[in-house]
Amino acid sequence: MSGEEQFVVSLSVNGTRRPVTVPARRLLSDALRHDLELTGTHVGCEHGVCGACTVLLDGVPVRSCLMFAVQAEHHEVTTVEGLADADGRLHPVQEAFRDCHGLQCGFCTPGFLTTIAAALEDYPPGASISADEAREILGGNLCRCTGYQNIVKAVGRAQEIRTQRAGLSGDEATDRDST
């Protein structure tokens, strides 16, 4: 192998500690994808513009192609694989993307999902999100397939689902949440 100095980094990803041995220059995106084989995080540009590689670092969206894996130690990383509940129930934004046809090829999708999931936390269930606010949330992510129309809709739909799940309306959502 190479003579490059290797670092053992303990990454906390989706609630699980996972050690990786990487050179200092290894991008977080590559460590997630190729060392941990969490390939849900995609790489569309590797220069920080498209947002496909977005993961949450302590709940905040960051571009994993602009970070080194070694910098992620001591932080909690959430990838698209970690958005659903432990029991497999989809995150509201995942459900909303399916409901609204918010994806076509799906390559940009993980970056949108993580970005929106983080943004939703700024809105309490029950609060509405306007289309303008939705566009603001999506403003830094590129999609070449959908023309964004249905992604904007999916933001509103995701908030609706959160609201239902919080029991503010919709009996079924309350039932499911209480179990």
């Binding site: 190479s2 969490l38 496909a52 989809l90």
Partner: protein, 810 residues
């Protein structure tokens, strides 16, 4: 009744895996594979004098370094000219690795294989190539002047001179009461899928077989190309398109050098090898499209009837012609649009430049053709002082005139005959949808407030579903699961959903029981590919035909078992039953068991098919002469010619007089793609197409400098629309004129949304500014320049703007 599925806007089935990060795209495969990096030419036109790899071999982790000298057999030959054509008189293609010279920045010269991509790049950086520079040819006008040549043995830079003609254009122009001549240009853009290209190859030395994954729009043809170039028997090669992160045309080109080099290296090294293109590589070594210069002369009468059209088009073909002249053919045929025309001539000179190759990008020459015709319509209206919609209307082919023969040959080598449509009603719907009639009052009221509004429209006809064929295979397993496969590939169009809808309805099975596979040569070896809005038409009909065969066989077997006439049987929710008799039923799973006469039972269900259990006639063989075991069917759909979809877009724009920023206030689409399989998917295709149309009209350029350097080869500088650049709403009106050419009556929808974007937006901007628009795209700085030129009196104003100011002053 089985729930009706054809035509329903059901949610997509592929989403389940894609929204949880379980998609499997090219670079998600083969974590242990060796990585690859290429040394690509930094020069647009040069001879290679020397390649020095000595510093690179020192890099730890490097396994191999290859240049042209290492290539053997057919690999050392030029890449294929995929689509030969009699007018393509001087075709040129590159080599997998440059053979002594390079013709564009980005051309691959050296391939490095290392433990991973990082190390491969380290080594590639240390390779020194010596060049002798030649003068690069950039832009079609430089190519036409031919002061220097892209390829030394083609001094005029002309790859092809294509002439499409009917009637007598010269005579008709002489006799026409009015004529107009103008020149306009349209910039380059590119497919630019979010996922670049990529190839993974694994050689099984024991089995002597090769498995290749590639992010392609045609796995069957890549397979044939690899077998040919690597001198392998076709049955030793399998090619699979995994989940593909968008294609839009660039991935139909094949074999890309990397699609040959990666498997070639995998065999030589006996290791898994993978290459995933990075974004810069995609900009400088994948394909672009669109760039054309159009010189147009039109003749017309007092009412705006088009009498003759003469177009001379310079088409920028880039450095090579691997995909033939498909784009020029489409431009020159689809230019005609929905209009009647008696005299037409279009000459396309397809010229070489020292830039990235030009091959189809969604729309594939149609946006340029539409730009030519629709801007001609706007010129005619402006010249005569007529309403732009009215001029279009008077020229439209009427609904009772189909089939309409254009007397040209289309891109499939077949006559350009429109099969069906209703263009006048489409135009009416568009006028209503966008508010065409009341707009002039709105425009002048806004103008009085210092706001610049404009409206424009553009119509198109799109040949879709080109042949030669696609196939489908449908198999009911004894478990009741229904496997559907077709050879063409998917890049996000929702084929798993649409084809399942078709089979569910044809066969009468719950959609949940259906599993669709595409683009995998192990499952279906005969296919053409996904391009030209053909997947739904071609494979949709093929799987429908295969499902019908399965249905017929199921009914035949069930009729024997139930001892009834097959004509009395129906399949509902996966169960064969006698109409009107709820008692007599046989699940398809049981039919599947019985369809395969067995000697050996291996579970309870299969006992029913064994020799001593199965009903059988003593004088018939268990499998009849004209029958086969298994409940499956395979069929092919091969159309006599393409089916023609159509559409009309209208757009209202507002230009900010201070910043020159353009806002799209309204975007209206009327669209006719025959019968809809899934309206939600079709609308998604339109949304995406419109966004690409807007990108091409307002933002996207390939900024080559005079030395052939692409100066904006990143997402920072190549401005693809974000959500902030696309219309906030797209109003869509569907019109369904079924195609008489295929069993399902469908037409393609994939490219439609992008075609009229530049034409409609150019018209709207011209309306808003009153300044003649002759080149697209138009960003704020170009608009600013136009406004300044208008103030200086150096810009050409529309006649309509003069009429307006006259009206205002009286």
């Amino acid at each position: 009744m089985t729930t009706k599925l054809f035509g329903e806007p059901i949610a997509r089935r592929e989403d389940a895996r894609l929204i949880v990060g379980k998609g499997r795209y090219l670079d998600d495969i083969g974590h242990g594979a060796l990585g690859v990096a290429f040394v690509r030419s930094p020069h647009a036109n040069a001879r290679i004098l020397d390649i020095d790899v000595s510093a690179a071999v020192e890099v730890a982790g490097v396994h191999a370094i290859y240049s042209y000298e290492d290539l053997d057999g057919a690999m050392a030959q030029p890449l294929p000219v995929l689509i030969p054509h009699p007018s393509l008189t001087a075709p040129r293609t590159g080599y997998p690795l440059a053979n002594g010279s390079v013709s564009h920045v980005g051309e691959p010269i050296v391939m490095v294989v290392a433990d991973d991509r990082y190390l491969a790049e380290d080594a590639a950086e240390r390779i020194v190539v010596d060049y002798e520079f030649r003068t690069p040819v950039v832009g079609v006008e430089a190519a036409e002047r031919a002061d220097s040549a892209v390829h030394e043995d083609i001094p005029d830079n002309v790859a092809a001179r294509l002439v499409q003609e009917f009637g007598d254009v010269d005579a008709a122009l002489l006799q026409a009461p009015h004529t107009v001549s103008f020149t306009q240009t349209i910039e380059r853009s590119a497919s630019m899928p979010l996922e670049g290209k990529g190839v993974h190859a694994r050689w099984d030395a024991v089995d002597e077989s090769l498995r290749v994954y590639t992010s392609t729009q045609t796995s069957t043809s890549v397979r044939a190309a690899i077998a040919t170039k690597l001198d392998l028997s076709l049955d030793r090669v399998e090619v699979i398109a995994p989940d593909v992160g968008g294609g839009f045309g660039v991935k139909i080109v094949h074999p890309w050098p990397e699609e040959l080099l990666i498997p070639w290296a995998a065999i030589r090294l006996g290791r898994e090898v993978k290459w995933a293109e990075d974004r810069r590589e995609h900009f400088v070594s994948s394909a672009h499209e669109r760039g054309q210069l159009q010189r147009i002369t039109a003749g017309y009468d007092d009412e705006g009837r088009l009498l003759a059209l003469d177009a001379h088009i310079l088409h920028d073909h880039g450095a090579y012609t691997p995909y033939g002249i498909v784009v020029p053919i489409i431009t020159s045929t689809q230019l005609l649009g929905p209009y009647r025309l008696a005299n037409y001539r279009c000459q396309v000179d397809s010229v070489y430049t020292n830039t990235v190759i030009v091959t189809p990008y969604r729309g594939a020459g149609r946006p340029q053709g539409c730009f030519a015709m629709e801007r001609t319509m706007d010129r005619v209206a402006d010249d005569l002082g007529l309403d732009r919609a009215a001029v279009r209307e008077i020229n439209l082919i009427r609904a009772d005139e189909f089939p309409w023969d254009n007397h040209l040959i289309f891109q499939d080598g077949r006559p350009l005959i429109y099969d069906s449509g209703d263009y006048p009603s489409m135009l009416d719907k568009l006028r209503d949808l966008v508010g065409w009639e009341g707009f002039e009052a709105r425009r002048s009221a806004a103008a009085a407030d210092g706001r610049w509004l404009g409206i424009g429209m553009a119509l198109y006809v799109e040949g879709t579903g080109v042949g030669p064929y696609e196939g489908g295979h449908v198999q009911v397993l004894p478990s009741g699961k229904v496997l559907v496969s077709t050879g063409l590939t998917s890049q996000g169009q929702g084929h798993e959903t649409a084809f399942a809808q078709i089979v569910a309805e044809e066969l009468g099975v719950p959609i949940e029981d259906i599993e669709v596979h595409t683009g995998d040569t192990r499952r279906f070896a005969y296919a053409v590919g996904t391009f030209a809005s053909r997947a739904a038409v071609m494979s949709g009909n093929a799987v429908a035909l295969a499902a019908r065969a399965v249905r017929e066989k199921a009914l035949r077997i069930a009729a024997e078992v139930l001892e009834v006439d097959a004509a009395d049987l129906d399949i509902v929710d996966g169960v064969v039953g006698v109409r009107g008799d709820p008692g007599a039923v046989l699940p398809l799973s049981s039919v599947a068991v019985l369809s395969n006469p067995l000697r050996y039972a291996f579970d309870e269900a299969s006992r029913a098919a064994t020799q001593f259990a199965r009903f059988a006639s003593d004088d018939q063989p268990p499998v009849a002469d004209d029958d086969e075991p298994g409940l499956e069917g395979r069929d092919y759909y091969s159309p006599v010619r393409s089916t023609f979809a159509s559409g009309a877009h209208a757009v209202i724009v507002e230009v900010d007089p201070g910043t020159c920023a353009v806002t799209i206030e309204k975007y209206a689409v009327v669209h006719d793609c025959g019968r809809l399989i899934n309206p939600r998917i079709v609308e998604g295709q339109i949304h995406g197409g419109v966004a690409q149309g807007v990108g091409g009209a307002l933002y996207e350029v390939m900024a080559y400098d005079e030395t052939g350097q692409l100066q904006n080869a990143s997402f920072m500088d190549f401005l693809m629309p974000y959500v902030s650049e696309v219309p906030q709403r797209i109003d869509i009106g569907h019109q369904e004129t079924p195609s008489p050419l295929n069993p399902l009556g469908i037409k393609g929808a994939g490219e439609a949304g992008v075609i009229p974007g530049s034409a409609a937006i150019a018209a709207a901007l011209e309306d808003a500014l009153g300044i003649r628009i002759t080149s697209m795209p138009l960003g704020p700085s170009q608009i600013y320049d136009l406004i300044r030129a208008a103030q200086d009196g150096t810009a050409e104003m529309t006649l309509n703007s003069a009429r307006r100011s006259q009206e205002e002053s009286t």
